[in-house]
Assembly symmetry: C2
Homo-oligomer: 347 residues x 2
Amino acid sequence: MTVTLADVAARAQVSPATVSRVLNGNYPVAAATRERVLRAVDDLDYVLNGPASALAAATSDLVGILVNDIADPFFGIMASAVQSEIGGPGGRAGGERLAVVCNTGGSPERELTYLTLLQRQRAAAVVLTGGAVEDAEHAAAVAGKLRRLADAGSRVVLCGRPPAPGTDAVALTFDNRGGGRRITEHLISLGHRRIGYIAGPQERTTTRHRLEGHREALAAHGVEDDPALTVHGRYDRRSGHDGTVELLRRDPSLTAVVAANDTVAIGACAALRGAGLRIPDDVSVAGFDDLPFSGDAVPALTTVRLPLYEAGARAGRVAMGKEEPPPGDVATVRGELVVRKSTGVPR
Amino acid sequence: MTVTLADVAARAQVSPATVSRVLNGNYPVAAATRERVLRAVDDLDYVLNGPASALAAATSDLVGILVNDIADPFFGIMASAVQSEIGGPGGRAGGERLAVVCNTGGSPERELTYLTLLQRQRAAAVVLTGGAVEDAEHAAAVAGKLRRLADAGSRVVLCGRPPAPGTDAVALTFDNRGGGRRITEHLISLGHRRIGYIAGPQERTTTRHRLEGHREALAAHGVEDDPALTVHGRYDRRSGHDGTVELLRRDPSLTAVVAANDTVAIGACAALRGAGLRIPDDVSVAGFDDLPFSGDAVPALTTVRLPLYEAGARAGRVAMGKEEPPPGDVATVRGELVVRKSTGVPR
DNA sequence: CTGTTAGCGCGTTCAA
DNA sequence: TTGAACGCGCTAACAG
């Protein structure tokens, strides 16, 4: 039915072992023989059987990339960067590796499910992107999975995610706290004192770190941290809209809104506009991440730029063993304040 | 080292076959025995060996999803929809299927490479999203790959892509031509006569179909189709910006711009604003797709809504055999005109 | 309902 | 430099 290695061997008049060797290029093979084999492969339209190969070699060409939301460019950009680094030569049997982007939807259970699936597939490497869920039990379960993946030979890299204690996974962490601090400092320096904050989901590390940075800035400049000025929601536009409506209800005198990320900020802008407020004349708005659309928003969004592509690419290289892990297996990636048109002096 | 099926069998005091049976749930097993096996699996922290399983069963739990650009929500939305339908029960060994999102970057070579990789992995199904490249040689190569995938037992579904002649792949096609016609008719009905068109890459089906719809509308209403009013570019913001600058240079009197998609439209808006023109007072702008940000743009974008999520979900179900393929294996998915604030009567 | 027996297709020793 | 033989871990008949 389907053509196998043996068929190729027969046609090239060599042994199956020889065919395997030319395909993997791991052993010396006479040039003439290799020619013959390659021709047979071509003639027969032979495609290596991945599972069989992986079984025999006890490793596969799969590289898993876990993302919270594949429809969100924040993750899409990192995923495409990781993927750009894992292709090319270096893989077994033909040189190409298969990037497997897994969409967890932010669900802890699905995260674990996918890690199991990748372990089952004997993935060559696994890259986890985005913040982690702050739940002791889940964190322990993830750590266990990561440890077992590593034991089985998979390289594990965290991208934009804090280190996982109890594992030796390499972590490229975003400096969310520092970014959060800088964006709020920017607003304070403009003269804002009543600053609303629309945070992400309560239990995520990214949410907490950005919020902590915000509070650090308030404290450092002696600005009151009114709990009523912080609301939580998801990392989407809707949350920005609804959160802003709520903040405005609680304190109509606020002069600035900091959003958990750019998508949330866009929703905030919509809500402010809906309330008849001008940006930044009446209320300033700040985001986080600097996604592609942020510069095109009207007004262009002041935000913290995270080098998503660069971080993803580095994670990919580390996962492939093409780059040394950072000292201590942890690197912090800073975000840069980008001041545009959505922030100004308070009215 | 790693625990195998045999280890589980030994601990549960049953044969390996029985363990396999409870794991796959394909054969009747006594409740007591199943209990015992499941406990042993748990005790030993056993994880099925995917490659071995796939080798023996001659099929895998992998489902491939090909996308042109994973960082583009257009594809992200479809991919997440496909993926939402392929999980759950029905897969082998534990019920979960692994969605493999493959990023071709729009490159024909990578498209072929990924198809080979998926064939190599004996993927259970493959979903190709987005337009096809219009190159006879490449089309033939893809058709050949798809045929071989189907022969090997993979189900092949095209989502938002025209049928592939010479294959029996199911196609859920977007009515790009009809959408293109409706958006331009909308502008004509508002009174526009000098309408610029920023098309996508020359050689893609999506580009051609949308453009043809545009021209049909012009012809149907006796509006001159000036070749100078059409420019080509990529499906990104930059192309929208640059294309608009060029169109403005060629004809400063144009009153409307139709963009290849919403992302391009956003770029067009930025360029118009940069030229000191108001939208829609001076120039109307229309997009295509209705991505999440389109309603939040300022002004909110008039566009053609494509039911990306629904189409992706349907493709996923068909790929899983959960839904019957449409009659003739081809279904056309219509886009709906969404009139918002970016279009108005010409100045 | 369960155990026994063969492979699935390939990589990798060990000899030659 | 090449071939022969074995086994990777699992599933799918076939018995019982």
